[in-house]
Symmetry: C3
Subunit: 263 residues, 3 copies
């Protein structure tokens, strides 16, 4: 079965008409397509935040899903608009780094400029490509249209990538950073922990130390805990509270993880 699914990741917010106008434009082109919101609460223009959130959601969707990302502070400027195939999914987005984390995980197979006006709404607004260009192109792809039809092929290596912080290993100590704070105040770091591995180690952040646990309630209410988060990254949480609040920490804070040797 063809998925005919489009997911949406934007900074449009939920109180204006922008999300609905874009959905209307999509459904006018492809009435059978189903639309799933990833989020519309990316802070305005924050491409790095969009890159991270998209990466955490995209992989769980069926093969053939089209992920549409419109966090686009440079809308109407010379920045390119692109569509690409990457792993089992298609992506439609401005070429401004919002795909950085996805490209990091899955090298894109085929990448095309969005340049063929035929697929767009007539007289596209220079300030709303989501509705007039990206949405119709995503509708085209989700309803089985060819990637070749959106515009000329380009070299995937030319896609803009944001700086993506890599953790460093010295001896048996990893040094990384908080890359995202979620609504619960959980601090997601860039330190990957292998699934299923018997992990043991000491985490340090902001002068506080703790050993790795399995889930939030392995510690008492109000206590900090470090664990393997749902996306496979080391995460610092507070059982029943906000680790960000307790630690006063935010994106960029340094975290170290010292692997315990079995003796």
């Amino acid at each position: 079965m063809n998925a005919k699914l489009i997911t949406l990741t934007t900074d449009f917010g939920l109180r204006d008409a922008y999300v609905a106008a874009m959905k209307g434009a999509i459904l006018s082109r492809a009435p059978e397509v189903r639309i799933v919101d990833v989020t519309h609460e990316i802070p305005p223009g924050e491409t790095a935040s969009a890159a991270y959130v998209l990466r955490q959601a995209a992989g769980f969707f069926p093969t053939g899903t089209v992920h549409l990302v419109v966090v686009d502070p440079g809308v109407g400027s010379e920045r390119r608009a692109i569509a690409c195939e990457c792993g089992p999914h298609l992506y439609v987005a401005p070429d401004n780094g919002v795909l950085t984390a996805v490209l990091h995980a899955n090298p894109p197979v085929r990448t095309h400029l969005i340049s063929r006006h035929e697929l767009w709404r007539k007289e596209p607004s220079p300030v709303f490509h989501g509705r007039d260009i990206f949405g119709p192109v995503a509708a085209h792809l989700a309803s089985g249209g060819r990637l070749d039809d959106v515009g000329e092929a380009i070299d995937p290596d030319t896609l803009l990538r944001l700086p993506w912080p890599e953790p460093r290993l010295e001896g048996d100590e990893w040094t990384g950073a908080v890359i995202y704070v979620d609504r619960f105040g959980n601090l997601v770091t860039n330190l990957p922990l292998e699934a299923g591995a018997v992990l043991a180690g000491t985490v340090e952040i902001g002068g506080r130390c703790f050993t790795l646990a399995r889930t939030y309630s392995d510690v008492r209410k109000g206590e900090l805990v470090a664990l393997r988060g749902s996306s496979g990254l080391l995460e610092i949480a507070c059982n029943g509270g906000s680790a960000a609040g307790v630690l006063g920490a935010s994106a960029g804070h340094v975290v170290t993880f010292r692997v315990h040797r079995r003796s």
Copy 2:
């Protein structure tokens, strides 16, 4: 293909059960209908805000879409409930002005009172017509039911319209007002600018002057810019920031636009 789409514009918010109860009532009547949220974040009871947001979204949906609006501070009182055909779409709403902007753009062809109890849920709550009356009526219409069946025809001219500010032209200077502030802090005015026209002019608001640009990034980060917004109205924005914040401006603020003569 019949659209079988219902859009929702309400002030119910997203944290209570109201939106879901209304969707459940709709899907119980018309399981095949698809529901798209315009917004549920209209400030409580603000009919003018609903009128504007609905207008910005409605036109982008397929022919036959039913737009349901429940911003209804007078629920259960003597205010009328109506359904009307207006352009290519149907509208279901309290007769309290929420359709003002839509009616302004598309004179309604047929308008009916919502008065036939047969379509409603049994024993409708006097405080939740969205769930018990409007939702089921929208479901009836979206699944192909006749407009005649919802109640008696009435004269469209009797529909309540909110005062809708019209811009004034004196010499070559238009005077208008901010009518909406979006989540980005963009100031949308009531001054329409023709699409595709080669526009040039000077905009003044709050003692600040600037010339018309094409898109946000035509000015440097942090600078104000005036442009044709995505709905065809003059808009004042701030590249990478909030024009509302920079100018301390909100709905009602006066804006002038002086058209440049070609010499």
Copy 3:
């Protein structure tokens, strides 16, 4: 027609990737299922709030709907995960009290542990059962899978129930409490009022007294009003304002209702 509907009630919020990851996991298992959000704005970990909101929405959905609730502060701990049939619907949730209000209204017919790993995603994260266990199980049930397949049957009486405040009657005076404050600042109490009955009475809260009305606009703008809310419970509201704000009241505040005798 089989409903193939899943509703979602969570505390995930709308800005992270969690809701979308769970929806993706559901749609990967059951591409034909339709998903309706009840809310994702339950305050983190507040099971009582989830119990109330779920109850207000669930009953309005078609027969066969699967209601999935993931407010799960004990995720990954020894708390049980369960699926049950209750009235015309199915429920999938942690056994932590989030079903209290639903169970109160409809005694569960069949209740099963969620214990058969075959239905789950491989290597489920101990911190995201919504995506890896509950979502796939809900997808199984919504697409016609058997309740027996999710795990062994258990005694419904063993399900965890939160304390649910019952109103007390003394003479002709009911004493109850505010159990929920909605986005409008309406104070929902635990005092049920029969539908259609000719009700008359005096309500007292925080030293303020008023007689029962039918709808908000039965009193002047800014005035308090007591009425039968849309879920059949006594509610204190403020026409055009917030009763919670005016009264400084919140969940737990005592309310009395003295029934008027006809003389």
